[in-house]
């Protein structure tokens, strides 16, 4: 295969994006996934190769379209750059140009042409109760559509908390039997990008990783990319020093809250929630733009069983990997043991006593003998 090099003309094809901006974007993506910046070149090549521009089929189930909205917000890449240049968005109910049978036909066509290659993105939970009748598209239960589309997909990504584990729909009493994608497609690897909404860069990075290396990034036990969900919010939180120093906001709006103290007592779930929110932030607006940064406790949207499940203002279990190393252990070696000096002095004294005793014993023996002699 002829390798296509990045030339100036390649970038002219990319409408409205300078070469400089594009390489910067690829570099940022590479760093976001924990690769060296130079890897950006490789990503750029993968993306600009038209043969590699991935076809994407995007399905919507029980959801609010917040995930799509968040994906449209970033400026790196912009909306048009994303859907026209980076990926080939063949089907997306919100963004489709066509509608009805036309759109369905486009999806069918893409599935056939790109069988085993396309990326399937699922947004929203899948109701499975009563044969899945609570969410239908084109008069077909969503669960059937998902199963059919997934059968030929090259990679499956569940975006958002709803798709990842059911989200708010699955909260008690869960009348529709809302279920996450991994539980419906049990025999497939489903990458989950939970969050309500998820950070768009986590999604984009996962897609680019797949494009560049033809494989999925390393995943954790909940199938979340480790580069994004490897750490607790608590571990990189900007308010962590306040936690360590014991400075807490007691109520919303009190002095502690105004001074940016730790939100743990207000129910922050950061200590039990894995996500990179404090590191990559939201909305490209600079520092502090993420829930905890704006003064609201984390509510654990990226963690199955926490967001939408446990009370908003209840105290979190602090699930550090290990307690802080500076905390004193139960048992610590204390006090001074034997030193050379003390041992020497003691040995000297003991020696003197033993010596004296020996001399006396010998002399006592002599007197004994002399007595007998007399």
């Amino acid at each position: 295969m002829k390798k296509k090099h990045l030339t100036h003309s390649t970038f002219k094809e990319l409408r409205g994006v300078s070469r400089r901006d594009f390489i910067k974007f690829c570099g940022v993506m590479a760093v976001g996934m924990g690769f060296p910046v130079t890897m950006g070149q490789k990503i750029a090549e993968a993306v600009t190769n038209p043969k590699k521009r991935p076809p994407v089929i995007w399905l919507h189930g029980q959801e609010c379209t917040g995930c799509t909205e968040t994906l449209l917000r970033p400026s790196h890449p912009s909306l048009e750059h994303l859907i026209l240049d980076l990926i080939s968005l063949d089907y997306h109910e919100t963004l489709n140009a066509g509608a009805g049978h036309q759109a369905e036909a486009a999806m069918k066509k893409s599935m056939q042409e790109n069988a085993g290659k396309y990326i399937l993105v699922i947004e929203g939970a899948i109701p499975v109760k009563d044969g899945g009748i609570y969410c239908k598209i084109g008069n077909r239960p969503f669960v059937d559509i998902v199963k059919e589309t997934a059968a030929k997909a090259g990679a499956i990504i569940a975006i958002g908390s709803c798709a990842s584990w059911g989200g708010i729909q699955s909260s008690y009493p869960n009348p529709t039997g809302a279920t996450g994608v991994p539980d419906v497609l049990k025999d497939k690897t489903v990458v989950t990008i939970p969050g309500c909404p998820p950070n768009p860069y986590n999604f984009l990075s996962t897609v680019l990783h797949f494009l560049t290396f033809s494989k999925l990034p390393a995943l954790d036990d909940k199938n979340r990319p480790i580069f994004a969900y490897g750490n607790l919010i608590h571990e990189n939180c900007e308010r962590r020093p306040h936690f360590d120093a014991g400075r807490f906001a007691e109520t919303f709006g009190d002095d502690g809250h105004r001074n940016g103290y730790c939100l743990y007592k207000l129910g922050c779930k950061g200590p039990m929630t894995h996500a990179n929110c404090p590191s990559i932030l939201f909305n490209e607006a600079g520092g502090g733009v993420w829930p905890v940064g704006t003064g609201h406790p984390c509510f654990g949207c990226t963690e199955k069983g926490i967001g939408f499940n446990i009370p908003l203002h209840s105290l979190a279990d602090v699930e550090n990997i290990t307690p802080s190393s500076v905390i004193a252990p139960i048992k610590s070696e204390q006090g001074k043991g034997m030193s050379k000096g003390s041992a020497a002095v003691l040995a000297g004294a003991a020696g003197a006593v033993v010596g004296a005793a020996a001399v006396i014993t010998r002399n006592l023996g002599e007197s004994d003998n002399s007595d007998k002699g007399e």
């Binding site: 743990y264 279990d317 699930e319 139960i330």
Partner: protein
């Protein structure tokens, strides 16, 4: 010869009785009982998050200087209770140390401070009454004016709580006095008022025991309300209950303590010794009291001895 043998037997019997009788009879007298108005603390290790804010609060409330450790001495980071540290949070870690309140491959925090025993060894041991137990609240406090610095309280304390000022020519003993100065003002101890999770709460011991028993009956994983700061504060935190060791440390240990402990990890693993229900104090006090009650026994023996010595001395001279 006759007299001498009889005298001999008398002395032997008297001396032996003096030393043996308390040793044999010690099982009879029970230790002291809980005071009805006793105030105490309940520390729940499963609620503790190791933030150490109680240590900071204690320092402020008692004017204690920070104790930085390590090579650089950057942080206030004591490793143990000391003359300047009345309260410390320590950690237990086992194996991978990842799961909170798990004995195996888990971790737990534990608070170390004066337990304010019902029958305190330090109070019994102190020859100069420098350690006293408040007759109402039962708080054990220290009076440097009385103290002679013999450190018998340190030997006696089953929890190694009293600490001595080793590097001073005019040393004192120091330990947690349950912020008596704050209690006098109607406030609660600093570690309780600052604890963010309600891991340490203040209140009458009787009520704390009821609260501790309520927690023991909780279903692990379910959400409950836990009082914060003190039982009367009205503040609560909502939290899922952990699996508790079915024992309230301090309920009966060494005759009972006014600081009670709950934990998910066995107590002997988090540095709290397995102690008998009977206080050691009551054993030694019983021996002393049997021997020296009203000085009757010593006076009788002294009389007998004086008689014998006088007689033998005169006989011989």
């Amino acid at each position: 010869m006759e007299i001498r043998r009889r005298d001999f037997l008398k002395v032997v019997a008297g001396t032996t009785a003096m030393a043996v009788s308390p040793s044999l009879s010690f099982a009879s007298s029970p230790g002291k009982k809980r005071l009805p108005g006793a105030m105490g603390m309940l520390y729940d290790a499963t609620l503790c998050i190791g933030c150490e804010v109680c240590m900071v609060a204690c320092r402020k409330a008692n004017n204690l200087s920070p104790q930085p450790t390590g090579i650089q001495k950057l942080w206030d980071n004591p490793k143990n209770l000391s003359f300047e540290t009345y309260n410390i949070i320590k950690k237990y870690q086992n194996g991978t140390g990842k799961v909170k309140d798990n004995e195996i491959n888990g971790f737990s925090f534990v608070k170390s401070q004066c337990m304010h025993c019902v029958d305190p060894s330090c109070v019994s041991a102190c020859p100069a009454s420098a350690m006293t137990k408040d007759k109402e609240t039962g708080v054990v406090s220290y009076n440097p004016e009385a103290c002679i610095g013999c450190r018998y309280c340190q030997v006696a304390c089953p929890f190694n709580i009293p600490k001595f000022e080793w590097d001073s020519p005019f040393p004192e003993i120091a330990k947690c006095e349950m912020c008596s100065h704050l209690q006098a003002k109607g406030e609660i101890p600093a570690c309780c008022s600052e604890c963010p999770t309600g891991a340490t709460i203040f209140g009458p011991v009787e009520s704390l025991l009821i609260e501790a028993k309520r927690r023991q009956n909780m279903e692990p994983g379910k959400y409950y309300y836990f009082p914060a700061n003190s039982l009367k504060s009205g503040k609560t935190n909502e939290k899922s209950a952990s699996k508790y060791i079915p024992r309230i440390y301090g309920e009966t240990e060494i005759g009972g303590t006014q600081v009670l402990m709950l934990s998910g990890v066995p107590f002997n693993k988090i540095g709290l010794p397995d102690l008998p229900d009977r206080s050691y104090t009551s054993i030694s006090e019983n021996i002393q009291h049997t021997l020296y009650r009203g000085m009757i026994l010593p006076v009788i023996i002294f009389g007998g001895l004086t008689y014998l010595v006088a007689k033998n001395k005169n006989n011989n001279e």
